[in-house]
């Protein structure tokens, strides 16, 4: 284990600094903001509302439709051209699937719940930060859910399992400050239903053994619980700030 000290000084199981707030967009049915380090996501929920065109409607239950979008100035490099690209479309799809198992839309046949996720700044982990924000926004919108959804990336950097990789860790050998034993990096974004531990999003880029993968997934669980507490606190805070305060 050569990667004992992380590039930004965090412990292996330590999340970046977080910030969560619910009810940030007045026009939306529900909304939330979540920041992890320098990755910030805003999420707004509209609906359930009428779904057009009609052929998209599901007479059995309401549909969930997520839309992930990076603001043009939110990338680490060049300007991101506005509009949907292949990456944004794929992330939108996996985000929808990550949230769907927790959401119950059987009372809303033919309708749609739209979730818009927007990123003003990113530094790795944007799909996970987006899912955390979207889950809070859905709860804020009063959508029936069996649980919240938590998300974070876990990974392997130079043989060490670490939580919540930032950009420099994803690009590890390039930014390494000590001797590198293993150039391979694995980045595994995960979403989880905290009460059951079921995984609803799982992607992987990189190189990892099956044993290390399972170890990494287990390693992520306590971090998910931390995120769940942050979400819960933010949702309750929205309604507690007046209590006992001003008369």
């Amino acid at each position: 284990m050569t990667y004992t000290k992380r590039l930004d000084g965090r412990k292996h199981d330590e999340l970046r600094e977080t910030e969560a707030k619910v009810g940030v967009i007045k026009r939306a049915t529900g909304s939330a903001k979540f920041r992890m380090g320098n990755t910030t996501a805003l999420a707004a929920v509209y609906g359930p509302r009428e779904l057009h065109p009609r052929f998209l409607q599901d007479p059995e239950k309401g549909r969930l439709r997520c839309n992930y979008n990076m603001m043009p100035f939110s990338g680490m490099g060049d300007r991101v051209r506005p509009g949907a690209n292949r990456r944004a479309k794929e992330i939108s799809m996996v985000t929808t699937k990550a949230l769907l198992p927790a959401v119950d839309l059987k009372d809303y046949p033919n309708a749609v719940v739209d979730v818009f996720i927007e990123l003003p700044q990113t530094d790795a982990g944007s799909r996970c930060v987006g899912i955390v924000a979207a889950s809070m926004a859905l709860a804020d919108a009063g959508i029936p859910m069996k649980d919240l959804v938590c998300a974070v990336a876990v990974g392997k950097v130079d043989k060490s399992i670490v939580i919540d990789l930032d950009y420099e860790e994803e690009q590890y050998p390039k930014y390494a400050t000590t001797k590198v034993d293993d150039e391979e990096v694995a980045d595994i974004p995960i979403a989880m239903i905290p009460s059951t531990g079921e995984i609803t999003l799982l992607q992987l880029d990189g190189d990892i053994s099956k044993e290390d993968l399972i170890k990494a997934l287990k390693f992520a669980k306590p971090a998910m619980e931390k995120i769940y507490e942050i979400q819960k606190k933010a949702l309750k805070e929205k309604y507690s700030d007046l209590k006992g305060g001003k008369k």
């Binding site: 359930p48 007479p59 309401g62 046949p109 709860a139 919108a141 859910m145 919240l148 009460s195 209590k243």
Partner: protein, 248 residues
């Protein structure tokens, strides 16, 4: 074991409310093995052994018997299509829209024009949320000039108050006519625009703070500060019956 969260506390989806079999899961909750959990962000309501969640927010879901405010969005062959601030439009048929006999093919805009607001009652909701309305009934009518504001449907009972006490308080102070639809659409009309604006502010205040205790006193204080009630004449003007809010 037993109740883990106190009555009237804010809970989030997935939160365990009670353990064991002493309590029963009601609206907005579900049983998961030994646990009863919440499915909504809302306030826990403990009624004897039953647990339910009073939601704090959420889109309007049409229910039979609700009195709502709708806007004419389209005119069909035999009736009017309304937007009722929901994922589902509502239909008002000719027979439920007017007492008059309407010949087939008649100009239906004679009764309700596009974009007009109407107080109506929901008489039927199907499993697919197809909604039928009527305007036959006390207090049901077309609305005239005024302002339309939107509130969270879950907050409507607080805006109306017990036996209409809250909305009457606002109406008397600000000398406005107010109709509150259970779908979260509120119509307000006042002779004095400044007082009308205060009525809107008061309603928005309830919309934001409905979950906080001492609401009536706060609203009284808010109104008293801005538009004190004249002490001599006891009540400025008894609101006419049909202007009164819809019942909960």
């Amino acid at each position: 074991m037993g109740l883990l969260i106190q009555d009237k506390q804010v809970v989030v989806p997935g939160e365990i409310l009670a353990q064991g079999m002493d309590y029963l899961p009601g609206h907005g909750t579900y049983r998961d093995g030994d646990n009863i959990k919440s499915t909504r962000l809302g306030l826990l309501n403990v009624e004897g052994r039953a647990l339910k969640i009073v939601p704090l927010k959420g889109a309007y879901l049409p229910r039979k018997g609700d009195t709502i405010i709708g806007r004419v969005d389209d005119i069909a062959f035999s009736g009017w299509r309304f937007n009722i601030n929901s994922a589902y439009p509502a239909m008002l048929s000719m027979k439920d829209g007017t007492h008059e006999f309407v010949a087939r093919g008649a100009d239906l805009t004679r009764y309700y024009k596009l974009q007009e607001y109407v107080v109506a009652k929901i008489i039927n909701v199907t499993s697919q949320n197809l909604v039928d309305l009527t305007v036959k009934g006390p207090g049901l009518k077309k609305l005239g000039p005024g302002r339309i504001i939107m509130v969270t449907p879950a907050k409507v009972p607080r805006i109306i108050g017990k036996q209409g006490s809250m909305v009457t308080l606002i109406k008397e102070h600000t000398q406005t006519q107010i109709t509150v639809g259970q779908n979260g659409i509120v119509w307000i009309n006042g002779k004095e625009p400044k007082k009308e604006a205060i009525a809107v502010q008061a309603i928005e205040l309830i919309n934001q703070q409905a979950h906080v205790g001492g609401l009536t006193d706060r609203i009284k204080e808010f109104l008293e500060k801005r538009v004190p009630m004249p002490k001599t004449t006891k009540k400025v003007e008894e609101p006419k019956k049909e202007d009164t809010e819809v019942k909960q």
